[in-house]
């Protein structure tokens, strides 16, 4: 029962080359371009560029919208993943494939699609406006919608994978103890697949943080309201490419710091199993 012991005997020294070599190559491939950006960054003018007011606004807005979009995705996406993994219904494999649509759709087209449905003249948007006076485009809420649309599939698909790999028998045991499906889900399924949910949430958050095309199309590019960091980077590229690199680095550093500090806590708390 003491499988956790194994980690103690691990270490890079015992990793076989056939695994270590591609792993290190992959790591270099993902991390090296960052080095390129660092080399190219205009270090001397960095401080003044960073303190420009709209940079902090954009950063704050990015972190806020990405977090809310992730929360929305968790709320809707984890049940959806559960539905796809645990409930068999006709057309399930089609639905599963449809869920990947926002992944494949070029984000700008995604933004157009959102406008067509949720815009002021859109199928649902019209009704939202007349019934509730809610108008999503060009608002911060619109940014959240655009980011959630693009990022949620990442959560859904990786959580579904985790659910499929989990041992069903624990859920059976919970059912015999009188747990309803909802209780089983909440108190057994979710804790058991916590590492998968954390991984999915990280993907979702990061994707939302880097979202550009759908956001600028659906929510526009208004400083302080809908201008997230990637949009600021886009505009900076138009006027001052060096500034764009600085902004990107800011985005990277902040997200890396947040992920490195938060995830270890989640992961160790979630995957006690």
């Amino acid at each position: 029962m003491a499988a956790d012991d194994v980690s103690r005997r691990s270490g890079l020294t015992r990793a076989p080359w056939v695994l270590l070599a591609p792993a290190l190559l992959g790591m270099a491939f993902l991390v090296l371009p960052l080095a390129g950006l660092l080399v190219r960054a205009p270090w001397t003018t960095l401080p003044e560029r960073l303190t420009a007011p709209h940079v902090l606004d954009a950063l704050r807005l990015s972190l806020f919208t990405a977090t809310v979009a992730t929360a929305v995705s968790l709320l809707l996406g984890v049940p959806l993943a559960w539905l796809l993994a645990r409930v068999s219904f006709p057309g399930r494999s089609l639905v599963r494939a449809l869920v990947t649509i926002p992944l494949v759709l070029p984000p700008v087209v995604g933004g157009v699609a959102l406008l067509l449905v949720l815009g002021r003249r859109g199928l649902v948007g019209q009704w939202l406006e007349s019934a509730f006076g809610i108008s999503l485009p060009f608002t911060t809420a619109g940014v959240v919608v655009a980011e959630a649309f693009v990022a949620m599939p990442f959560l859904v698909i990786s959580v579904e994978g985790a659910l499929r790999a989990a041992d069903l028998r624990f859920e059976e045991a919970a059912a015999t103890l009188g747990a309803s499906r909802w209780t089983v889900f909440r108190r057994v399924t979710v804790p058991l697949v916590a590492p998968g949910i954390v991984a999915g949430a990280v993907l979702c958050w990061a994707r939302a943080l880097g979202e550009f095309g759908a956001t600028i199309t659906f929510a526009g590019n208004f400083p302080g309201r809908t201008q997230t960091m990637p949009l600021a980077v886009y505009l900076a590229l138009e006027t001052d490419p060096d500034s764009a690199i600085v902004l990107s680095l800011v985005l990277l550093v902040v997200s890396v710091v947040i992920l490195a500090s938060l995830r270890d806590r989640w992961v160790s708390a979630g995957s006690a199993a």
């Binding site: 029962m1 003491a2 499988a3 956790d4 028998r169 624990f170 059976e172 045991a173 919970a174 059912a175 015999t176 103890l177 009188g178 747990a179 309803s180 499906r181 209780t183 089983v184 108190r187 057994v188 804790p191 058991l192 916590a194 006690a272 199993a273």
Partner: protein, 343 residues
Amino acid sequence: MSLSARLSVVRPRFRLDVAFDVEPGQVLALLGPNGAGKTTALRALAGLTPLTNGQITLDGRSLDALPSERRPIGVVFQDYLLFPHLSALDNVAFGPRCHGVAKAEARRTAKVWLERVGLADHTAAKPRQLSGGQAQRVALARALAVEPRLLLLDEPLAALDAHTRLEIRSQLRRHLSDFGGATVLVTHDPLDAMVLADRLVVIEGGSVVQEGAPADVARRPRTEYVARLVGLNLYKGTATGRQVSVDGIDFHVNDEIDGPALIAFPPAAVALYRSRPDGSPRNLWQAHIEGIERHGDNIRVHLGGAIAVAADVTPAAVADLDLTPGQRIWASVKATETRAYPA
């Protein structure tokens, strides 16, 4: 009538077809060799495996249409299935919580149960920090904590050491008589079955081959599996009066009987001789030794020949007779120790 079950489950290479009733307060033991379908029957009762056919009635209510979580059951699984992310305490409190008990109250209940199974010191331990036997005791406490009307136990005592087993076994008995529900117990241990169960149902290959009170089953086994389980040699033969003929060997028995018959005797009733003993020729045959092994304080000798027989002799006898595998030998059984009954 408390539980009435007719279970039929069809699988590609296996078919389960059993029926049994359990009175309130009664304990029914399901015995059978590996792969007989005991776990399958238990899962069907728990609603985890759908019935291909049949019906389950508990306290007059049909359970067939109810999902597992609505059945008033408690299950101890063959491999525990403790929730790895919950402490022992929270594993036990899980059931009461699902039945609407408040958190603090559920934990109190759980603590009491853990104390009863002797794990007061391990309430905070996660399952992976428990030994195999500790884990199984937590599973037992978890199943009992929901105060089920039907308790289903799949080898509940298998991982317990002798000392704890004795304790848990009597606690289990005590608790069962308290709430008066029905219990179905799967076990391999004939002692567990004899001590805990009011009735035995023996399954082989998915069908019931024998059932009855433990003492009856132990006295009159109907299959080789049951005979071995209760420690008897068993043969099929043809009876005429007080004589049963098995594969050319005539056994003299005390019981008056005719037609197809079964004859059973304990290994300890077999006497071995290096040369043909004088006296009555009945119950005597020649055999060869196939294997010798220790068996408790005695030595068990496996004999081949016309019939396969196990004989228990004292170590002293082994030395006196200088028994070795392959050796030819004479064997006999006292008529008073054999029991014959209709097949």
